[in-house]
Amino acid sequence: MKRLFTLLIVLGLAFSVSAAWAQDTLVYGTTDKVTQMDVAGAYDFHTWEIFQNVGSGLMQYTPGTTNLVPALATGYTVNAAGDEYTFKLRKGVKFSNGTPFTASVVKWSIDRVAKLNGDPAALVTQYVKSVDVVDDYTVKFVLKGPLSYLPALVATPTYFPMDPSVYPEDKIVQDVGELNGGEIVALGPYRLTSFKRDEEAVFEANPNYWGKEPGIQKIIIRYFADATTMRLALEKGEIDLAFKTLNPSDIADLTKGGKYNAVKIPGPQIRYLCFETSESVFKDKKLRQAVSALINRSEINQKVYLGQNAPLYSMIPMGMSYHTEDFKTALGDGNVALAEKILKGLGYSKAKPFTFDLWYTPSHYGDPEVNMAEVMKAQMEKSSLVKVNLKSAEWATYKQQWNNKQMPVFFLGWYPDYIDPDDYTSPFAQTEGSKGMGIFFSSKAWDDLFIQEQQTTKDAVRNSTFAKIQKMWTDEVPTVPIFQGNLYIFSKKNVSGVKIGPTLIFNYDQLKFTK
């Protein structure tokens, strides 16, 4: 036994010493999961992150910013009606297996996404009538109507060109092994050379990449079952970098002492409270206003998230065009006096308090969710006219219940599909989108406003429309914004180049070892 133990120690040490010299490889830990290894099926941040590193779009964001710049396209023109975009493509670009990149590849890839009708297909089918090949290096998008944010859409992986000789035309690929050749061939800075679900993904620099060579030749993603183990793995040195999603207490501990590089990302993720507005007790907008006034965002941020997020007073996040602070001025923060005035006006009293169920889901948004629900219940019950029953359900049940109008008020969170204020507003208050979110808000006046901002490319028109929408939001209150989530990346001191902007795109090619 002793001998075996000694042998293990020697072998283990030998291996760790040899691994310490491998400075061309970075190990990145995450608790995220890969869904489908196909842009026609994937509709989640982590799988998109992988495609953003192995693929390229016609347009892309400058790392760490919201500036859209041409990537596989060299530029584009829009017709006067705003419903036709023509992109000129970069010449001489090849996939990592040598397949040339042309306009036909772009058309094939986008047609395939639409035809396979996977989860993200609506990002294409809702807007694009056809993709036409003008010549080998020119492609034209004919749209169903004028659209201001097509350049942002073509920067999403759903629009990324995929090699027709590798991806099957008639089915969505689940795992890399189903691809012709068994490997995702790349147009981006890396190629994915191996993938074991829930264990690891290995990326190696793409020798045919059209852009600048990555700073680190090999990136390995290690998948963790929980945040605590990931934090310990960083402290132990098993991983070089940890991202998504650490617990608030882990973030606070890792920030102390300066042992790690900490990058705080003002994320595009927002958290908010949704009301079922068609049949529940919250059919009356006055009750929605009262409940909204009782929420104290700063207290939630301090008590639950240890000050790591930012209170939010509009559904459009801070840092994005057209953001206002209307909720702060109209309904306030922890404004018990205003809430009680509204509730008394509706006939509620200490003897007959306004009673409702507040729902949360305990694991989907991480461990702090239950704490947020408890703090919010306490905030609301600061008014003796309110009585809150906290209820919870796991995600699958939760989703079913909001579809069935079984939850009068409940917490949700949002990561955008594309970086535009439209994606933070219309899904919640435009008739069709609102149904899917369990809000069931419907108003012709609101729908018209959304169509107006979606169809115009004029900044002044969009500015005034969104200003109006945000003001109306504090009156109708279909949802209440609570906070804008910051994300944190921790890395060893010798890792630099972490640039993640509000788009949340993590470009691995920017990473470098400094020593």
């Binding site: 191996s194 074991k196 690891e200 310990l232 939760y398 079913q400």
Partner: protein
């Protein structure tokens, strides 16, 4: 030999209703629980119409009895069905994850025996001494400790503070498991390619998770070994050995322990199901990519076919293990005949 073959066959046949009962319970419980895989898989944004279409495609809008008949029809063709979330055969993730779970439970079992049996024997030898009291206290304490808590403690102490052992996964990330993964049993795979460093790394990663499982289960073996040893040590043949002047250590460990082990072998079979249950939590704590982690993740996603498939495999594993234990029992105890 003919009797043994018919015994084995009977046991296999008896396993079929066991699997059937387990499956029926799981099948019904999953479907009467609130929530469904479609809502979980389509995320926040899918319209109700799309959700209903998907439910129809997956057959989830049929009555439970009809779904059950369909499922049994698949099972008799030895088809566990397709995952509702990842659209792959259920057998695919199970085949990928099963070796990791078997490696972990096997080493967990070895660790529990390696700790529990000698401690139990030592406690019996020094009955009512301070050592005996300490060992019994240990047995009670470790049996009460939640396995995930002990795992976290080991990670902190032996992983982070002392830095002796890795705290997550089956290998170091830089080893790139996909380069040698063949059978999924990394111990075998690394030896097959003759990579001793990789073998050491794999064994090194097994230490903390196996020890966590082993320590928690060792409590039972301590108590059991001690109780059996106390009975055995009162036997006439032990008295005779002592009278012949055989040294006490030899009396206890060579003559006594060997006979006290027989009921422990029976216990092994019963403990195996506990070990699998413990492995579910241990796999989550140590990010061990096995069936337990798969089960937990798919329960959250309500991926019915995968959950059912994992339960079938767990039930079969327990059946096979208890059969092996019964056969072993016959091999070591000449009084038992089949």
């Amino acid at each position: 030999m003919r009797h043994l073959a018919s015994y084995v066959l009977t046991r296999f046949l008896l396993a079929i209703p066991m699997v059937f009962i387990m499956l029926t319970i799981i099948f019904v419980v999953l479907r009467i629980m609130p929530g469904d895989p479609v809502s979980a898989m389509l995320g926040d944004r899918a319209p109700l119409r799309v959700i209903n279409e998907k439910k129809h495609t997956l057959g989830l809008d049929k009555p439970i009895a009809a779904q059950y008949v369909d499922y049994l029809g698949q099972l008799v063709r030895l088809d566990l069905g397709d995952s509702m979330i990842f659209k792959q055969k259920v057998s695919q993730p199970i085949i990928e994850k099963l070796p990791a779970t078997i490696e972990l439970t096997l080493f967990g079992l070895l660790a529990s025996l390696a700790i529990g049996v000698p401690l139990g024997a030592a406690a019996a030898r020094r009955r009512r001494s301070g050592g005996d009291f300490g060992i019994r206290l240990y047995a009670n304490v470790v049996y009460c400790i939640p396995v995930f808590w002990l795992g976290l403690l080991f990670q902190l102490v032996f992983g982070v503070l002392l830095g002796w052992f890795p705290i997550s996964g089956r290998t170091s990330p830089r080893l790139e498991a996909s380069t040698f993964s063949w059978s999924g049993f990394y111990i075998v795979d690394t030896l097959k390619i003759g990579n001793l460093a990789a073998f050491g790394d794999v064994m090194w990663h097994l230490v903390l998770p196996a020890l966590t499982l082993g320590v928690v289960l060792s409590g039972i073996f301590v108590r059991l070994t001690r109780a059996n040893m106390l009975d055995v040590l009162k036997s006439d043949y032990i008295l005779a050995a002592r009278a012949r002047g055989v040294p006490e250590r030899r009396v206890v460990y060579n003559h006594g322990l060997r006979n006290a082990l027989i009921p422990i072998v029976t216990m092994l079979g019963l403990q195996f199901s506990l070990l699998l249950a413990g492995a579910i939590l241990t796999e989550s704590t140590f990010s061990w990519p096995g069936m337990g982690r798969l089960l937990v993740e798919r329960i959250y996603l309500r991926d019915y076919p995968v959950i059912q498939g994992v339960i079938v495999v767990y039930t079969l594993l327990v059946s096979v293990m208890s059969l092996l234990v019964d056969l072993l029992y016959a091999a070591i105890d000449p009084r038992v005949k089949y």
